[in-house]
Symmetry: C2
Subunit: 557 residues, 2 copies
């Protein structure tokens, strides 16, 4: 059974991704790998997540009665909350250093209030009230940012609110002739798919954060989903967007499927990360609901050989040959995956691959999805190209297992942090030419940074695994997971690794982020990506739409 | 034989599209249609194009010796020309009212000089010299704008130059691993395809203006090509772009095939129409050179039925089923096409269609192109869907004839103007929901405007024909050609028609331009398209990059 993309889950707790499971969610295989390869005893150091916060844990709100009154009036049918638990829940996204601080009880920067409009019309009124009372606004959807995108920074203003958009979660309209659907911004991934499935459609934009993230958040962060190789990233799916800015609404798209009426301003809103206004509606292209899935898994003698095969498939295959979900693990990720699923099947697989000259396999998973037999035809054509490039078929079990567990990694992070393991992910993308070098350089930088702990400390074993998960004609994404025994100062450990990876990414000429966005985490690197002049352009746009600078200060630019 | 897309042709003359052919290029069939349906005697009123201009025809240059010296120094290996013929050639694009004025000998607004840099490095120096001497700059590529995009407006500055980029016509690099090619901006369509064909590749961006237009011009105008249904429009093909602005270079893209590093600023350059800087390099995705073409032609009982079939193909067909070139004529365009090719074959066709209940056919042409047998498979699958939606097969001859004559229409316009026939084209795009109504409303508006001539004049018969030429999942383009006997004031006649069509397009909720861009012609309608606030955003970007306002004043915003 594949994961059900229409199934809603409870909202994330303030300190992590999912409610705490006392017994843990680690498999025996994972526990064994942690113990044997990373020297971590999964039972030695269990630190359950912190209790609920109380008012005593939080700084006082800076909002006076006037400002609160104005917010309450503007919010209309919505709410203005100063409840400690609600403020704490909006203090951060799911950036690992933030989770570490929350778990460590480090005093939190929290919003002075959480305002949750009940209608999109109220958003404009709230922005006006904030302008009048010198209040910064942090638009808040699923709170799943891993780059500090929802950190409640004041930016020199008197106060800061989180603008929680999750009550704005309606399907506004579905146009079955145009195959487009308009949603309010705060609808979460599963609710999008549930609303569309009821009418026979899918958006197909399913990032790992799907269960928590909102459609407005996807648009604001220029998101890519796990199936973006097939469906395109969110920028490709959005046909129209409305942005409420301090200077009024910006209504873009919707007149035609394509236009030459000057620059396409939709692309200024997509990726704007709340810094120029609040997205109040998103119109997306939809497709028929998926009824057929074909899975495949192959081994290659090396990650580079697998990447070459994917390049051939992307460049010389027919349109649609590429699987909708396409994931090539490097040798280390493959090895760790196999190690966690030890047993007869894996032993047989290793023997089968060894007999074909593959000692350190790189595993490729593919999912072709659609509505009819064409799904199988696409798969068949792709297999031909993959095999011509050295692919050795394996059971499709790994692809099906991936589909079942596609949303589980953030929950695994919770668990690893609970048992004192340092874990996080980071990502980039590069052209095919630069891909092999970038892959190696970034992995080595992470490995070296993990090894180079504080003076006098013992170097601990680490796992640094990578994969490609988005394939394009001109290049591909690279996604890394690093796991190591925790140092005393885990935030410092994280920052050392991230800094080294960033430097390696820039030196390789790759992008600073393929799909995690900029937030606070990558803001210093944005000039490397788009130049100082590009940053000036973004600032000029912000100055025009948000002259007082109240929209999500300190992010992006 | 299809038209050779790698074949260069002579540069357009200053008064029209192609050198004058004394015998004319009209077929006997076209002459018969003009005479019988539009009451035009093709021999009654032949006005050969005007002679070459001389210095006496032009206003004096406003450039003093200082400014000319600075330009010459900045141009370095390039040239600065004040030759009357060269100034006249850069006085306008190929906008019909401009051609009418040129043919009528109306005094021309011309650039004070034409500066043609010999290297991209010189572009920055020329911009600096213009800034220092209060000179406006009109970037000039193929000069094929039909919306006044290269009109030499001063915008309050002392002087204006045309910056002719056609010496910057090199293939800078071809990366066969990434399948990307970087070109200088002034390379024309055939030279792009010639350079790529020599290495086994194609860009596949082939607008009707291909033989004159430049790659930089495609980028600047957010162009779509005749095969954009298959290849995507230029915005989809560009992977990187460099813009030289008065504030320095903006270097965008090229790090990765996709990114989430804030808004994608490439989309601010694409469609910027020279108003924020000069595009100095364009990197595009390339594909294997076309070696196979499969043609198809079908008749539908009506334009609406054909549009419904295309919608089904776009929405429910497999990826790639849509033909790369896809063109559905409405009933009037089909009728006029058949009338011009009268003969036994057409009589048989009419009988064949009538026997199948089709009295007023709407003709669909398709070209599937690629490198292997998949081209035929895609065609076959598409036919199945088209037939299920009422398509009746005809000979493929009309599709092949289209491919042979794909670049001929602008030449036909020259010829019709020469014999005193009013002719022009205009275009829009709409979502599928709005398409049928938009199609009718715009055609009727054009027809009514043509009929409503100056008081007292006799209403003359007119042809108003339309087609879809770009198909998307969410909608399609609409392209109109109108032909009528000329009134005494042809510019007024044109403006009456264009104004009526524009009003109908706006009232229908369609886009003001699908692929002709904004220029001067559509600038007044841009606020309808992107809102006053959207225009303010574009102005803010311009202010940041071009604070003195010297870049192509009076265009776009």
């Amino acid at each position: 059974m594949a994961a059900d993309i229409t199934e809603s889950v409870p909202e994330s707790p303030w300190w992590g991704w999912a409610p705490f499971t006392p017994g843990g969610v680690l498999s025996d295989g994972t526990r064994a790998v942690l113990a044997e390869r990373l020297g971590v005893d999964p039972k030695a150091k269990v630190q359950p997540p912190p209790a609920e916060v109380t008012a005593a844990d939080l700084p006082d709100s800076t909002l006076g009665a006037d400002a609160l009154g104005a917010l309450a009036e503007a919010a209309g049918t919505g709410t203005v909350s100063q409840d400690p638990a609600i403020r704490a829940r909006h203090a951060a996204g799911k950036h690992t250093p933030d989770l570490l601080r929350q778990r460590a009880g480090t005093p939190l920067a929290v919003p002075d209030a959480v305002v949750s409009p009940g209608s999109t019309a109220e958003v404009a009124a709230i922005i006006a009230a904030c302008g009048a009372h010198d209040i910064a606004i942090v638009p808040f959807g699923g709170g799943s940012s891993v780059v500090g995108g929802v950190t409640p920074l004041r930016g020199g203003h008197a106060s800061v609110i989180a603008l929680d958009l999750t009550r704005l979660n309606a399907l506004v309209s579905l146009n079955e002739i145009d195959r487009t659907a308009t949603f309010e911004p705060g609808i979460r991934g599963p609710e999008v798919e549930h609303a569309l499935a009821a009418r026979g459609y899918t958006l197909g934009h399913i990032p790992q954060s799907h269960q928590q993230a909102t459609l407005g958040g996807y648009a604001a962060t220029r998101s890519a989903g796990q199936a973006s190789t097939g469906y395109g990233a969110i920028a490709d799916l959005i046909t129209g967007v409305t942005l409420e800015t301090p200077e009024g609404p910006l209504v873009l798209g919707g007149r035609a499927p394509s236009s030459a009426a000057g620059p396409d301003l939709k692309h200024l809103v997509v990726g704007s990360e709340g810094t120029i206004g609040v997205i109040t509606s998103v119109t997306v292209a939809v497709r028929p609901r998926v009824t057929e899935k074909t899975y495949g898994a192959w081994a290659f003698p090396s990650f580079e050989a697998g990447a070459e095969a994917l390049r051939a498939l992307a460049q010389d295959g027919a349109k649609g040959d590429l699987p909708d979900v396409c994931r090539l693990s490097d040798e280390e990720e493959t090895e760790l995956t196999l190690a966690q699923t030890d047993g007869t099947a894996v032993r047989l697989l290793r023997r089968w691959l060894r007999a074909r000259g593959i000692e350190t396999p790189a595993l490729l998973l593919g999912v072709w999805e659609g509505t009819d037999s064409d799904t199988k035809r696409r798969h068949k054509r792709a297999v031909k190209i993959l095999k011509a490039h050295g692919a050795v078929s394996t059971t499709t079990a790994p692809a099906e297992a991936w589909d079942r567990g596609r949303f589980s990694s953030p929950r695994l992070r919770d668990e690893l942090l609970t048992i004192g393991v340092m874990v996080d992910t980071l990502e980039t993308a590069a052209s095919w030419t630069k891909l092999p070098e970038t892959h190696t350089a970034v992995a080595e930088a992470i490995r070296a940074a993990l090894a180079g702990g504080p003076t006098g400390s013992e170097s601990k074993p680490a796992a640094v695994q990578g994969h490609i998960s988005h394939v394009y004609r001109n290049g591909a994404s690279l996604y890394y997971t690093f796991i190591a025994a925790a140092e005393d100062d885990m935030v410092a450990q994280y920052e050392r690794v991230k800094g080294a990876a960033n430097a390696a990414i820039l030196a390789s000429g790759a992008t600073i982020t393929h799909h995690h966005a900029v937030g606070t985490e990558h803001a210093a690197m944005l000039p490397d990506e788009i130049g100082e002049l590009g940053v000036r352009v973004l600032r000029a746009v912000k100055q025009e739409l948000d002259p007082a600078g109240i929209m999500n200060p300190g992010k992006l630019v």
